[in-house]
Amino acid sequence: AESGDTIKAIIARGELLCGVHPSRPGFAAPDDKGNWAGFEADYCRALAAVVFGDATKVRFVALSSQQRFPGIQSGEVDVLARNVSATMGRDVSLGLNFTPPIFYTGTGFLVHVDSGIEKLEDLDGATICMAPGSTTEQNIASLFSARGMSYTPIVIEDNKQLVANYVEGRCDALAKDKAALPGVRAIDTENPEEHKMLPGIFSKEPLAMAVRQGDDHWYDLVKWTVYATFVGEEMGVSQANVDEMLQSPDPDVQIMLGVTGDLGEKMGVSQDWAYQAIKQVGNYEDIYLRHFGPGTPIELDRDLNQQWVDGGILYGFPIK
């Protein structure tokens, strides 16, 4: 595609097409009223807010795991926010470009306490439940063959089946994004004390949004939208205070919110693009807490997903 085609097409269409997971509570799933909710869904909304100034102008397209790459390649969606781990292989052979990761995680193992498994090496010969199509499958294969160990995988696509398989004892261990394991332990088991996570993270899974290669304009827009949420948190600009922050004397804040400068126009959207994103959707912290914060069904530690200043690895490029 020619540079800029995507944005034109989106504007002509009047809505953004965003590819999401069909049902992954916390990341993207329809709620009981049929509205999409979740961390990744909110990033889609933020993009709509940037393009249209209206976060509701987004259409969510649920993509099954077979369908996700063909979906973005064929132009069925404009952007993929569907639990995709960025890898070099995908980047160079699928015609994709990855944005900065929005969620860092890695493979973890949940095991039954009474099995006596304490560390990875104890899993030699174990039966391990995992989801297909994710990089988890490859990571575990590498992990075990590097140590000369063997295992039997049980590969199940449906998450509730996967979890039930582990909980009911079909598998010795459940391998999953580490971020998801505490939820499983707390909600799905009869007695959370009977299960524990093995210490350590066993692979790198940087979940990022993806766009088609070849439209640098659109890629820039998605990339800077992500950074805007990072920088917003870093500079203390949140959904709650963004209107007051318009008056902020801080020149960096002024540039980001479009009070001064012309970066938005140069990017091909309105001047207040970052304001709209933060106002309508929030900064990173807002989004994170909304879906993984205390009181949500899936409570997650922020862990790596903190701003670099707080000891995490989220590092938004300066918006200047």
Binding site: R90, S115, F144, S145, T152, V155, R170, D172
Partner: protein, 364 residues
């Protein structure tokens, strides 16, 4: 006309090339030779994560074939039993069979497979397994049972068995020809059995009659030794074969009912017992009505095995999905699957068509 078709073909071809280049999609099947780097739970042929994708697909294909073959056998046996029960004359049995048919063919096969995996997962875990003497253990990890310890002789015994079956089929056909030509009847039952069972036995004897038995014993997380059948395989197998058996039962019923009433009366008039009437008069004639739709059901069953992914059995589609996700070459992966399934289905129809010719009634 020809010009129009060529023009259309060219137009489509241009579009495809145009669209593909626009999307920067890698094409070609070279990825099949790459290292797969994922493990497979159940494999009947050698495979490690260091093997190629092609290798992985072969594992999936063998798994698909195994579960389909077993499914076809079970579905046929159950289907025929239920179908006959539907016209058995016993009120209770007829109702029961009807209920079975209605439930089994109206509930999506996916739900049925899930139902069975849930049931099987709720069996006891290995440490308090149902113990079937020292010969077997039934657990939520599967069924483990004792089997003759593996020796290279087994390979030759299987070969002998296959050889025996082929010989038996050839013999039966030959006997039939012989009878049609000369009128002399050769009973192939005993020679057939002798071929099928005797040949492997002979091989076993020649090999020095190894009698060592391997018992499953608890070790590590599971049992080692013996033979095991996994719950995933079992759930998928029960799911697809019960689903198909409902349809087969209806086919069998209609086949039986299509047998002219006069045939049954003629058989009664020579005082044949009911079970002989079924065996010698009704079923052979019903077969010619039954076989063509039965073929369709077999093909459906083979394709239904692709729901394996919901219970976690590594069939062709399950492995194909993983491959598709790792390489991103969805179109090629789908093309491979289509070709393989088409091959299996066409082979199945071919075999059934031959069989159909065999059961067809001789007319003038």
């Amino acid at each position: 006309m020809a010009v129009a078709i060529c023009a259309l073909g060219l137009f489509l071809y241009n579009n495809v090339v145009d669209n593909l280049t626009r999307q920067n999609i890698a094409t070609g099947f070279s990825f099949l030779g790459q290292v797969s780097n994922f493990e497979i739970g159940e494999k009947l042929i050698p495979y490690t994560p260091r093997s190629t994708y092609l290798n992985a697909l072969m594992v999936g294909l063998v798994n698909t074939l195994v579960v389909s073959a077993a499914g076809i056998i079970i579905a046929t046996v159950v289907g025929f039993m239920v179908g006959i029960a539907r016209v058995s004359g016993n009120w209770m049995l007829e109702r029961l069979a009807l209920t079975y048919v209605e439930i089994v063919r109206n509930v999506p096969v996916i739900l049925q497979a899930i139902f069975w995996i849930v049931v099987l997962r709720n069996l006891p875990p290995p440490k308090n397994a149902f113990v079937l003497g020292e010969f077997g253990f039934l657990t939520n990890r599967g069924l483990y049972f004792a089997a003759p310890a593996s020796t290279p002789v087994h390979f030759w015994m299987w070969l002998a068995l296959a050889f025996g079956i082929v010989a038996c089929i050839i013999g039966t056909v030959a006997a039939r020809r012989y009878r049609e030509v000369t009128g002399r009847y050769v009973d192939m039952l005993l020679p057939g059995l002798a071929l099928i069972l005797g040949l492997p036995f002979l091989v076993w004897l020649v090999a020095g009659a190894p009698t060592e038995i391997s018992y499953p014993v608890p070790k590590g997380f599971n049992y080692v030794g013996g033979v095991s059948i996994s719950p995933e395989f079992t759930a998928l197998l029960i799911g697809i074969s019960m689903y198909a058996s409902g349809f087969i039962a209806e086919i069998v019923r209609s086949g039986i009912q299509a047998t002219p009433k006069g045939q049954v009366e003629a058989a009664r008039a020579i005082a044949l017992k009911p079970r002989f009437i079924m065996r010698y008069v009704i079923l052979p004639q019903a077969m010619r009505v039954i076989v063509p739709p039965l073929t369709s059901q077999y093909v459906s069953l083979i394709k239904n095995s692709s729901i394996a992914v919901v219970v976690g059995y590594p069939d062709l589609v399950n492995i194909g999905n993983t491959m598709m996700n790792q390489t991103g070459q969805a179109v090629e992966a789908i093309a491979v699957m289509m070709i393989v399934y088409l091959g299996i289905s066409l082979t199945a129809s071919l075999v059934m068509n031959l069989f159909n010719r065999f059961v067809a009634i001789k007319e003038r």
